[in-house]
């Protein structure tokens, strides 16, 4: 069964996304955005990580390198945030984020994207 991690310090947003993915055939886990995220990713190889903030990617800690072991395409990294600035989105995609969605987000679309990405990766 594929594993999905939802990372956010905002408990409400985290719960909302978790409930939106309730019907997906996957093990969904939640974590805070800071050290907890890195610790979990170091212990478990997730198939998808959904981060609900952009700040962890711009704090100079090379987050993608820590989430995704070298040579692997997993985990697929999604970022959901309120930011719409073109520079921010480009910077995120350049540093290895696979998908960027802005709030307000369509939960049906998010679910469909998650399902299709998991299917593409054969999970």
């Amino acid at each position: 069964m594929p594993r999905i991690l939802i990372a956010s310090d905002d408990e409400f947003a985290r719960e909302l996304v978790r409930l939106a993915l309730a019907g997906v055939d996957a093990e969904v886990r939640c974590a805070g955005c800071g050290a907890e995220l890195e610790r979990l990713c170091a212990r478990v190889l997730f198939d998808m990580v959904i981060v609900l903030r952009t700040a962890p990617f711009f704090c100079g800690r090379e987050l993608i390198g820590r989430l995704r072991p070298e040579g692997l395409r997993r985990p697929v990294v999604y970022v959901l945030s309120w930011q719409q600035c073109e520079q921010t989105v480009l910077a995120l995609l350049e540093c290895g984020v696979d998908q960027y969605l802005t709030f307000p987000v369509s939960l049906q679309r998010l679910r469909a994207k998650v399902v299709s990405d998991l299917a593409v990766n054969g999970l």
Binding site: F12, A13, E15, L19, A20, G23, Q84, T102, P104, V105
Partner: protein, 313 residues
């Protein structure tokens, strides 16, 4: 004398101990309340999402709604769901609001609250799908001295009656701030109202022009260039002209034009520096600047380009 000193020491000691105990009790109470609130919100969110995904259209029951603060938690939960998503079944949420009387309850809270607290309740009303009776009651808050109260009263009316939205936005007497425009854009992005950028940008209302320019910037509408150039040449350079200039930069359009030079010449030194910072962010070449700014100002641009912040971008 010694006895008096001892009595004073004992009294002050007792006061310190009493206050410490009170502080500990209050802290524990607040923590318990916070924990309860968080648990209740999670539960309500779960119920709302289950009802939305079940597709049965039945209004769900929310436990402990009679407890103090529970109604506010429910209102915040619904507002959170509506503001962070689009494409959900608004009909069901409207039924929940009507069934539990959340709009009328919030209206009562608005009436008895003051200042920012009132604005907070109005902000919740602005997001919730409220009944028809609410918008007319917002007129009195539209005349408030508090800017936030005025704005969220406007947003409540606008979200409740989307067809009259543009007229209401145009009628708003005070120019929108950047955060207010961002709030309107978030509302538009939820698909509340299909808008065309042209009538907005060409509108005589300053507020509608600002919203229109924001639409152009956010969606990168390059076809709006002729309209932007016309705004640059307009009579009010410190209002829409400056913003049109920034919008042209955001679209990465060529800036070596007569209209742009004229507009830049009218800007104050601080506005010119702000423009240069924005141009650096939008990756304009320093060569473009030689036509728009003099040499001393171009040196400032070079310092921005060479700064470590630029390297990060």
């Amino acid at each position: 004398m010694n006895l008096l000193l001892i009595i004073c020491a004992v009294c002050s000691g007792a006061a310190v101990v009493g206050l410490s105990v009170l502080w500990v009790v209050e802290t524990l109470k607040a923590r318990r309340q916070g924990g309860f609130r968080s648990v209740l919100q999670r539960r309500y969110l779960h119920i709302v999402m289950s009802a939305l995904y079940s597709g049965r259209g039945a209004v769900p029951r929310f436990p402990m709604l009679r407890r103090v603060g529970s109604r506010l938690v429910l209102a915040e939960t619904l507002a959170g769901v509506v503001s962070m998503t689009y494409g959900l079944d608004v009909g069901l949420l409207r039924q929940v609001v009507a069934r539990y009387g959340l709009d009328r309850w919030l209206l009562r809270r608005v009436r008895f609250a003051q200042g920012y607290r009132r604005a907070r309740y109005l902000a919740l009303l602005a997001v919730l799908p409220v009944g028809e009776g609410i918008p007319p009651r917002m007129a009195r808050y539209g005349r408030s001295r508090n800017r936030y109260v005025r704005f969220f009263a406007l947003m409540t009316r606008v979200s409740a009656e989307p067809l009259a939205a543009l007229r209401r936005l145009a009628d708003h007497a005070v120019p929108f701030s950047d955060t207010e425009v961002a709030e309107i854009m978030t509302w538009l992005r939820r698909g509340a109202l299909p808008v065309a950028y042209e009538p907005l940008v060409a509108s005589p209302s300053f507020n509608l022009r600002r919203v229109g320019l924001c639409v152009v910037r956010q969606f990168g509408i390059e076809e709006a260039e002729p309209l932007l150039l016309r705004l640059l040449d307009g009579e009010e350079p410190y209002a829409s002209g400056t913003e049109a200039l920034f919008t042209l930069c955001a679209l990465h359009r060529p800036l070596v034009r007569r209209e742009v030079s004229r507009c830049v010449a009218r800007l104050s030194p601080s506005q010119r520096r702000a423009l240069m910072r924005y141009m650096a962010q939008c990756s304009y070449s320093p060569q473009v600047l030689s036509r728009l700014f003099d040499d001393s100002e171009s040196a400032y641009y070079d310092t921005i380009v060479r700064s470590y912040k630029r390297c990060l971008v």
